[in-house]
């Protein structure tokens, strides 16, 4: 099983497809959350390198963000807003709170940009994604959500979902937390196995087990719901 290369034509930060986790897929999958090599799960700006791809903002924009230039920051937000909304809304359900939290994510980035070091090898999306997940996790704790929200607090904000997507969401919410998170990172946020391991601060072999087992559990649950796999 291999993970689709998110750099392939048509890829967007929110539409990475999953075929399967592949421990052997190294740093060829840089977006939307590229392999950073080591765990960088705090929210401090990356002090190592920042790898570029066509889905990442360029150095010029990043330098503007470091200066807290408004137009550069606008471009930064435009580039990553879909990624941030996806991370938040899939964990917390859709609603105005996602807009507020997304603003909080970008605020944290804005405030930390003056200390941001632009270097090759580590994409800014990884840093921002970690901030977004931390914000989402804080909100999950506050709202008493164990895995993901099974419904949308404000359905008018939600896109219409297929029957299968609704079933997937419900099934995913029933998984143990670590399995759910591993699947989210891999299947829905396009991370490689190594990236999942880095993000969750676990061994790659453990990440692989979590993802495969999550898929297996989801498959069984969807089958019980009568949803074709």
């Amino acid at each position: 099983m291999t993970i689709k290369d998110p750099i392939s034509p048509g890829h967007s930060p929110n539409s990475p497809g999953l075929e399967s986790p592949d421990e052997g897929s190294p740093a060829r999958v840089p977006v939307p959350i590229a392999a950073g090599g080591s765990a960088d799960t705090d929210e401090s700006p990356p002090s190592r390198s920042v790898r570029r791809s066509r889905d990442e903002v360029d150095d010029c924009v990043l330098r503007g963000c470091v200066r807290q230039d408004e137009s550069a920051f606008t471009e930064f937000v435009i580039c990553y807003q879909h990624m941030v909304f996806a991370i938040l809304s899939r964990r917390l359900g859709c609603g105005s709170h996602v807009e507020d939290l997304a603003q909080e994510v970008f605020w944290k980035a804005y405030a930390r940009f003056p200390k941001f070091e632009i270097r090759e090898g580590q994409p800014v999306s990884k840093w921002l994604g970690t901030i977004a997940r931390n914000v989402a996790n804080d909100e999950k704790r506050r709202r008493g959500i164990a895995t993901i929200a099974v419904s949308d607090p404000e359905p008018s904000y939600a896109p219409s979902l297929s029957e299968r997507a609704v079933a997937l969401r419900r099934a995913l919410a029933e998984l143990p937390e670590r399995f759910c998170e591993a699947f989210l990172l891999s299947a829905l946020e396009g991370m490689s196995l190594r990236e999942v391991a880095s993000e969750m601060e676990i061994a790659a072999s453990t990440a692989r087990t979590l993802i495969l087992e999550a898929e297996s559990m989801l498959r069984r649950r969807l089958a019980r719901m009568g949803v074709p796999g």
């Binding site: 929110n14 539409s15 909304f85 807009e99 939290l101 896109p159 969401r169 299947a187 898929e215 989801l218």
Partner: protein
């Protein structure tokens, strides 16, 4: 199954069209709010509040939506200041709610008011009626907002400082309306003043709207 069990199945919430512009515009204000300490002059808060109003009125935030978190940050900072009004908890709560309501009004209702401004009469009575209606709706929103505890947190945070902050805000609004003499030494307190502040802010919106359409100034000036 898992080959396609991914994002194409489960579309996330999309950001509003104006999200990037709104967020970028709010960041400097948010930073000011975060950096502002209670030791700084109260007018700093008035400046921030006015900036929000101007942003909303001018359409810079497009939806009149500055961002709840940004507003909360400002009001949270306001909570630590030395203020007028004593230690009466009920008054503090009321003032906190007043600020809460007013900012909800600004945030949620400005764009609607601007949209409707063309359709209403320009006399103050109509303006007051719409302003009251807006605040009533903002209050209802505040009540819902309070259900998860955040509203209570906000009231606690701002209650002690609200009077001075509102006064500053009022001063700034009146300055924008070129009526500084009228508000010299003014202290916002009580039910009438609540409507007064809202009315003047609302008339400020109306003036902006009229000027944008090349219509003569209203009775607000």
């Amino acid at each position: 199954m898992t080959a396609k069990l991914g994002s194409e199945d489960w579309a996330p919430q999309a950001p509003p069209a104006d999200f990037a512009a709104t967020v970028s515009g709010a960041m400097p204000l948010r930073q000011m709010a975060e950096e502002w300490t209670p030791q700084q002059p109260a007018s700093a808060f008035g400046f921030l509040a006015t900036a929000f109003v101007v942003q909303a009125a001018s359409g810079e935030t497009q939806q009149g939506r500055v961002g709840l978190r940004t507003i909360r940050a400002i009001l949270r900072d306001a909570g630590g200041a030395d203020v007028l009004g004593g230690n009466d908890p009920s008054k503090q709560a009321k003032r906190g709610l007043l600020v809460h309501m007013f900012f909800r009004f600004v945030e949620r209702e400005a764009s609607r008011i601007l949209a409707e401004a063309d359709d209403i009469e320009s006399d103050e009575e109509s303006a007051m009626a719409l302003a009251k209606d807006s605040v009533r709706k903002a209050s209802e929103t505040s009540s819902r907002w309070g259900h998860d505890g955040s509203g209570l947190e906000l009231e606690e945070a701002v209650g002690f400082a609200a009077s001075r902050r509102l006064r500053s805000f009022h001063v700034e609004v009146c300055k924008k309306m070129q009526r500084p003499a009228e508000i010299a030494g003014h202290v916002v307190d009580g039910e009438d003043e609540r409507w007064r502040v809202v009315r003047e802010a609302f008339l400020f919106f109306l003036d902006k709207q009229r000027k944008a359409h090349g219509v003569a100034a209203s009775s607000a000036g």
